[in-house]
Symmetry: C2
Subunit: 355 residues, 2 copies
């Protein structure tokens, strides 16, 4: 029934060599004669040998130092969910010799991010999980690291053509299309829509939100070419200023009855709608933040699109281990489903063990 596992010792005996030689072949570190090499490889193939990675980890005492690069964030933030997934996976890999260092960058300042990434590019480490909010600096860092044969995994948003080990996250453009469908498809009478975004220093827009916006605009172009799309930049930390900006916007454009954020801060708009008791506005946002969930339940947000952030982090780090420790190649493109959340089903998404 259960076939006994083939061990290095078995291979050695069958090939008529010693364990040491088999080990040298397995890790192709030379010092083996043509003859032995051939014999050992043959037996290895025929027996379909699979190493016991746990015994290997135990004996080699090799350690893996992984880095995780995420934006600085509050505890309740979207990024905390990604980080929780990474940390959970790191804990599971600890006895395999894995350690994790978390590094945070400023998501509102590309220049600061860039110089941080430059210092990371020359660091000693075995793998990096990275949220490429800033496209160029991220691409550059990934290129440098991969050239040093240090595998890089992207989470959250993708960068086309990046040569990396794997990506875990949404198909961002598709999610923008989905947002458009949810907001517009059943409301052919809508003539105006507004996109809210956050101002930042350097690169004008985060990679993620740019891709979502492009997907959204593609739908608009194809399905609703006559739609007027407004855009309003807000500050990520000046609440009073935002209220003024929103007041002015809606005074100038009273006809706008629908809008969305491509970032996770829909609750900021929802707070404003609540403040002004504005109930004739349909708002769509992203991610299961506490504030967003509250706004969804209260009716200020109509839809949230979620993307399983813990899974992204968890699998992102796991991909590094798969490649380096388990010698398995993870799939390169791992697109998370886009969960559509409404008042009706939101409760079933909260507090479930997402990993």
């Amino acid at each position: 029934m259960t076939k006994p596992k083939i061990r290095i010792k078995d291979i050695a005996e069958m090939a008529g060599v010693s364990k040491g030689t088999v080990d040298r072949v397995l890790h192709n570190r030379g010092e083996v004669s043509e003859e032995s090499l051939r014999k050992v490889k043959k037996v290895l193939r025929e027996m379909n040998y699979e190493p016991n990675v746990y015994a290997s980890a135990l004996a080699s005492k090799r350690t893996y130092r992984f880095l995780c690069l995420l934006p600085q964030h509050a505890e309740s933030d979207y990024w905390a969910q990604v980080e929780a997934g990474v940390v959970k996976q790191a804990a599971e890999l600890r006895d395999l010799g894995v350690s994790l260092e978390r590094i945070y960058f400023d998501q509102y300042d590309m220049y600061a991010c860039q110089s941080l990434f430059e210092s990371v590019a020359i660091r000693e480490c075995d793998g990096v999980v990275l949220a490429p909010l800033f496209k160029e600096p991220s691409l550059m860092l990934a290129r440098t690291l991969m050239a040093r044969t240090i595998p890089v995994v992207f989470v959250d948003s993708h960068v086309a053509d990046a040569r990396i080990l794997a990506y875990y996250g949404m198909d961002s453009a598709c999610s923008g299309k989905l947002a458009a469908t949810l907001l517009l498809a059943e409301h052919p009478d809508i003539k105006d829509v507004v996109m809210f975004h956050l101002a930042r220093r350097g690169e004008s827009e985060a990679n993620q939100t740019r891709l979502r916006r492009e997907g959204f605009m593609e739908y608009v172009r194809e399905q609703r070419p006559r739609l007027t799309v407004h855009s309003l930049a807000l500050s990520w930390n000046d609440r009073e200023g935002n209220t003024l900006l929103l007041d002015r916007f809606f005074a100038e454009h009273p006809e706008v009855k629908a809008g969305l954020t491509f970032n996770s801060r829909a609750y900021m708009i929802a707070e404003y709608l609540n403040l002004r008791s504005k109930s004739d506005f349909r708002l769509l946002g992203y991610d299961l933040l506490e504030g967003n969930v509250g706004a969804l339940k209260a009716g200020h947000v109509s839809y949230l699109i979620a993307q399983r952030p813990e899974q992204q982090g968890y699998h992102g780090l796991r991909a590094l281990a798969q490649s380096l420790i388990f010698h398995q190649k993870p799939a390169e493109l791992n697109l998370m489903p886009m969960d559509i959340l409404t008042k009706e089903n939101i409760d079933f998404y909260l507090n479930f063990p997402s990993i």
Copy 2:
């Protein structure tokens, strides 16, 4: 930065005893003096010792034999997805000494299932993953096994008050409510709805579908007390017979414009709707079977509710390992999110790495 891990050897030295004694304490297998016990426990606590489970597995050569009880099924079936998750997890645990045996029961014959379960109840094994389609036989089996200190995990549907290690699956009743919401909430004019189900031998209804139906009916009672709820039993394998039954039903009840299945066979109804070119009927179903997905895309099914079957299987088996190998207690109730699938978002759920 990285603190070196505490080993048994360290504990032994600090407590002034030998490794052997520490091991005896750790596995409380006696033969230790009060004195040593106290000292060792103290150090263990203070040092927050955590064993290296991989070294432990390697040395002990202990093996774990897990059983997985699922209905016989076709490759394209819902159950194949659950099984794939279990198998995947089993592969990951192999070098930890885990082996998996799959056993299949007849989901259309409770008596056959019952006698199979009775033979399983007396088998030697270390843990069981079980889909409790038949409530009573499953309860009985779980009770017997747990009494033998063999942990049992339920997947797919839950049985209230079952004393088991863990459950992974939907909140079935909630999903019935969700089905009602999707089908009825925005259609206050609907006066009739029909529930399709499959006839089976023995217990009149599968546990899962019964719970879903109860949730559905609860919504109806509370929100739509005047709704007429029809019920139609079909055969799981007699397609022509079903066509006749459906023809007769719709001839007698032309006013019924909405219906649902609580099992995963919505595509059977969809096929009929297609056959009769019946387009004025709103149909809801469960699970991402190929047939269901096709029907959703073709417009014969309006909604599908999905429940992440691979994750259920994967985590179900994992829970056994967590408990037995990693000495962690998994959460008892693990409710999967209910994914709402429509023509709009279905594509984003297909072919993604769900585990």
